[in-house]
């Protein structure tokens, strides 16, 4: 680990700097074993008859080795599947028994931890059989090498650089190598479904109502938190240097980078409990919106900090030009990714689903939806933007527009598909975290740094929430109360995104220390804070509003819950409706009318016909873009409502007199639920309340499905 022992050409196997390229495979590292086996077979069949006898033995050995490697790959993947299976079964047990102190992600980490310990101490260290060449004739590394081994040529690919001190010090454990994934797997395979699902299931209504605050928390808050944590950590690092605890370089930019990666909050545990307890929707919207957006901010922020490279030799001093370049990069990547996600989501997908009649074939529609969403990710990556961010905004726009064009069948299909993908990906990441604490071979545990980091994230979160809330409250009519602020402060969990950012680069000493610290922070916050959410909610006296619709788009209130109270129509709620109307102010209103008058009619089958909203000289274009269905359902604001609510999937739709819920999980709903459904719908949609209270029979039509709510419900 000391800088001194460099440049020793070791003969050991390297599990060095960037995790093995061998395991670059996102889902099936076992491929590589097969690859090797094929290579062996290839060499066996191509080498002709001449040298066959001489090489038969070594080929057999290579083949055996390849088979062994393939087997190990399968076993390592099996380990993860076993972990996930165990997690699922235990989650079920917990849900069954209504245990709330431990969330599934915390559980996944515990199981990961246990398996990590077993792998670490239970498997024998294998001897390094690999070769070190010292062909020092070149001055740079190439991505492909051809090696001539006794007349045969073998192709090798660059896996990465190895810190010279590591070559001999790494442990020679095959199994630990096998369970180590390439960090980019997290970015390119596991995060996209998680982030897309977050965007796709974002509560649009409450999200837009609190848009200003959410943007402030996500952008300003994350930046503030990043800089405060960065500076505090720089102080800690200085202290460590004085105390002689620091054995390698740790620059100011490294501290800022740490601030950026650790600023991405992921209150998955808290939100799950909010869902279950149906806690305040505004608080939910604030927390969820902030966490979704600050993931995007953190990812772009960290890459801008990495891009901060002052010119000249003095690489770690402040340089105004480089700083502004970094800010430019931040703005460029963020706005580029945002635009790319939103535009591709809107243009390609919404229009494809609008102008074709694909909804007769749900399978095709679902497949197309999946492919288009994925292509957004790839397109953004191909253009040099951040795919994860693009996918987030693609998800949001698709939930807003494309979802309306889908058939009922496809709506549930796409939701379920992304739900499963998200569930698997999230639990995989968390169990991998548990595993990584023991199987990752380059941990740098520094007690001072860890304690400093805990203090710093606490202070950073405080400096982010309280002052911002104060300023936001100046503008908000519906203030963010002290208890809400404390709850937001408390909900500063770190999760998948922080981990993925931290593991992405663990080559240097500083990064390794950051990774270890991030891992511990994630563990601590998910377990302790996750477990403390329920007591905290009651201690902070946060309303558990049982009748609030749409706490979670995917979950109906428990049908057998006796304490389920229908409280709509009473004072605070309807008063709040008025308040929020005024408070969401110009940004929301401007957007709302533009969206309602132009975007919706162009992209979906709802909204007013374009022929009425566009100026007369666009007549032809307007007729082309307006779908015939729009003329059938012309009531403008009504449509808008049905869209706002129906798309969120939290409404109980009634067909005839049986009830089909959006996620269909509780098919035992009775007719009384559908009454509740229509009541709840009214209470949550102010426009309906305002315009339609006098009407006898509420009809909300949504693409051919006409929902008729019983008359007697309107008291």
């Amino acid at each position: 680990m000391e800088p001194g022992d460099a440049a020793r050409p070791g003969s050991g196997r390297a599990t060095g700097a960037p995790p093995p390229r061998l395991l670059l495979l996102p889902l099936l590292p076992l491929l590589l074993g097969w690859g090797l086996r094929v290579a062996a077979a290839a060499s066996a069949s191509s080498s002709g008859a001449a040298a066959e006898d001489s090489s038969a033995m070594e080929e057999l050995a290579t083949e055996k080795e390849a088979e062994e490697s393939h087997r190990q790959d399968s076993v390592s993947l099996l380990t993860f599947i076993l972990l996930l299976t165990l997690t699922i079964l235990t989650i079920w047990l917990f849900k069954h028994r209504r245990v709330r102190f431990l969330h599934e992600t915390g559980l996944a980490m515990i199981y990961g931890l246990i398996v990590g310990v077993i792998l670490r101490y239970g498997t024998p260290a294998t001897s390094g059989r690999d070769k070190s060449l010292s062909c020092t004739q070149e001055d740079r590394a190439f991505s492909t090498l051809l090696v001539n081994v006794s007349g045969k040529f073998f192709e090798y690919t660059l896996k990465g650089e190895i810190s010279p001190g590591k070559i001999n010090s790494v442990e020679q454990n095959d199994m630990l190598r096998k369970v180590t994934f390439d960090p980019e797997v997290f970015f390119n395979i596991l995060l996209p479904p998680i982030i897309f699902h977050a965007g796709y299931s974002l509560k649009k209504r409450h999200f837009f109502r609190n848009l200003g605050s959410i943007l402030a928390y996500a952008f300003l808050g994350t930046a503030v938190s990043c800089f405060i944590i960065g500076n505090l950590m720089y102080g800690v690092v200085k202290l460590m240097k004085i105390m002689g605890q620091l054995s390698d370089k740790f620059y100011y930019t490294d501290c800022l980078f740490f601030g950026a990666i650790i600023s991405a909050t992921d209150p998955v545990t808290v939100l799950a409990i909010f869902n279950e307890l149906h806690a305040d929707v505004d608080l939910y919207a604030l927390l969820f919106g902030e966490s979704v957006l600050n993931d995007a901010v953190a990812i772009v922020l960290s890459s801008s900090i990495v891009a901060y490279q002052p010119a000249g030799l003095n690489t770690h001093a402040f340089d105004a030009a480089a700083f502004f370049k970094s800010v430019g990069i931040f703005l460029g990547i963020f706005s580029g990714s945002f635009t790319m996600g939103a535009v591709t989501g809107v243009v390609t997908n919404a229009n494809v689903t609008k102008f074709t009649k694909l909804h007769c074939f749900p399978l095709l529609e679902t497949a197309l939806f999946f492919l288009m969403s994925w292509s957004t990710f790839l397109l953004a990556e191909a253009c040099g933007f951040t795919g994860v961010v693009a996918v987030l905004f693609c998800g949001i726009t698709q939930a807003h527009y494309t979802y309306n064009n889908l058939s009922v069948e496809s709506r549930s299909r796409t939701k379920q598909l992304f739900e499963v993908l998200h569930f698997l990906a999230e639990n995989f990441i968390f169990s991998y975290m548990g595993l990584a604490l023991f199987t990752f071979q380059k941990h740098v545990f520094s007690p001072i740094f860890i304690i400093g980091a805990f203090v710093a994230i606490f202070l950073g979160r405080a400096a982010h929430i309280y002052p911002l809330s104060f300023f936001l409250n100046l503008g908000r009519r519906h203030k963010i109360g002290w208890n809400f602020q404390h709850m937001m402060m408390f909900s500063g969990l770190r999760g998948a995104m922080a981990f993925a950012l931290a593991i992405r680069d663990t080559a240097s000493y500083a990064r390794q220390m950051m990774f270890t610290t991030t891992l511990l922070i994630v563990f601590f916050t998910v377990w302790i804070i996750g477990g403390g959410t329920t007591p905290m909610l009651s201690w902070l006296n946060i309303r558990l509003v049982w009748n609030q619709v749409g706490v979670d788009p995917d979950q109906d209130p428990p049908p057998n819950n006796d304490s389920f109270q229908v409280l709509q129509g009473d004072g605070p709620d309807s008063a709040r409706g008025n308040r929020t109307k005024q408070e969401s102010a110009w940004i929301f209103r401007l957007w709302y009318s533009f969206d309602h008058n132009y975007l919706k009619p162009i992209l979906t089958h709802s909204g007013p016909p374009l022929t009425t909203t566009l100026p007369a000289w666009c007549g032809l274009l307007a007729r082309c873009l307006t779908s015939p269905q729009v003329y059938d359902n012309q009531e403008p604001l009504r449509e808008e409502d049905s869209d706002f609510i129906l798309t969120e999937g939290d409404l109980t739709l009634t067909y005839g007199d049986s009830t089909v819920t959006a996620n269909g999980s509780s098919s035992s709903h009775t007719a009384s639920t559908s009454l509740e459904g229509s009541r709840r719908m009214k209470s949550s949609s102010e426009e309906v309340l305002e315009r339609d209270l006098g009407m006898g029979d509420q009809k909300v039509s949504s693409r051919g499905t006409r929902l008729v709510f019983p008359l007697e419900d309107n008291a």
Copy 2:
């Protein structure tokens, strides 16, 4: 390509023998770009301040290169997504206009072909920038290399051997490299969902009714076809040798290998048309069953042929010991994979879903189902068996047992999930085939070999179908008619499995020639035969039985079809019921009673309680294993029926008076459809017909959901 120009240490980039390990990635080759970028970043940050200036330029160059590579990866994946998107849109158009002459897979190939041409001739050839080392000090290749480049260590992984002649002759086109996947991707990523879906959606009723014939066609038929094609091709090869058309070795085992890979039929096109036209179910069962099983047979057969390695120098002569070893390998792998798939499917999954109450949480249930099915694949691979075969039998057993334990919600979820995966994987493979015709850089077009292969597969198929049918007809009471035999002969399409087996190893000259020929055979059969299916069906005068239920488990009969006739209850149908009863004979009956009396009660919630079927001394065990639900639904054969039919998803379930179809695609069904549904159900389940015709009210209970069919339906 000549053996003479070997051992020339070239400096070009190698796109050599096994496709680049760089692109080993199943779904996201773009990872590698990222990996490289990280590696570059790592080297940038870890190299300390001393050498910073000197290495800054080269690192920047490496980083740029890595970014470029990453971008290309994204673009190449985007290409595939674009292809699939185009295919989906055109399929929709075709389905919309009821075009039947071109199947979606044929379409995917055409689009692939077009893009392949563009990539091949539209992108510039890039110069090889990679390095060749000639460190000839070792006598075998290692899987990992450490290379010391001016004091820094880089880790390289073995990608594979390169045929020496190829080093300079390969084209230097980055883009073509990028769109080339590791062949093992097909085996480990794309085939499993296709095969699992085939097993999961196998028509169990008609499958079991024709089990004997299907097994005969799949096992004996494939073996016969393999040997006939192999021997004919050996003749062709001899002829080519005489004519001087053969430039490299081509052994008898190679010919047999070709026979094995080309014997895997894949009548996906024909079956799709059968579905659409609701052609004869028995013919469907024969064709589908044969094609599913012969995939498994071909995969194991080909690996046994590869394993045929006689001892001593004379490696390509006949050796009885080696032959029997191959036969042993075949039997071992096949039965091992079969057992593994069936046992894990049955024991883990069915029991997990039976003894937990996971069905309250469809998400958990679906995730678990997915993980368990995947773990079967991995377990088989870890044990050295064939994952694809294991997954097939896992799918069949899960459809038979686990499916019954799932909640209604999860049934549709799992079906839809695997349907989407299967659809995407299949179309991906076919568009890749189209692409490969132009982007694959080692084609060996040999007109004689190709013509010979077409003749051989025709003769092989004939020698497989007609004699076997003759012998089977001796035992069958319900004969396989001449028109059926001709149709089976005609349906010998080759598809995904043949391609995957052929591309798996393209290292030698013989294998390359086989690959090219296989590709052309797939193209020809899918396009010509696929297009000719409809005329052929009417020419052969094969009944299009509109009222037959369950031609396809996933498709309801078109609700708006005016020619849809309810013909149940008339002569031929009920007569056939009796005939098939007698004919399916002992194998079916034995299995049926064992399954009904023991397996079903143990593994699902249906069937008679074990306390009644097991001997008295097993009382305690029986009580433990029998779930309480069984006692509620004790009518034994009724249960059996409801299982047989409900699990296949082709029944229209009625809730109250609205209709929810199994795949929910046509939610506009009216109550009259539900009458039809119940009628059809009766007609297709002979047992119900026999036992329950006297009853007034049909109740079929399936795990808590009680379906009540209207009384007046029973005339």
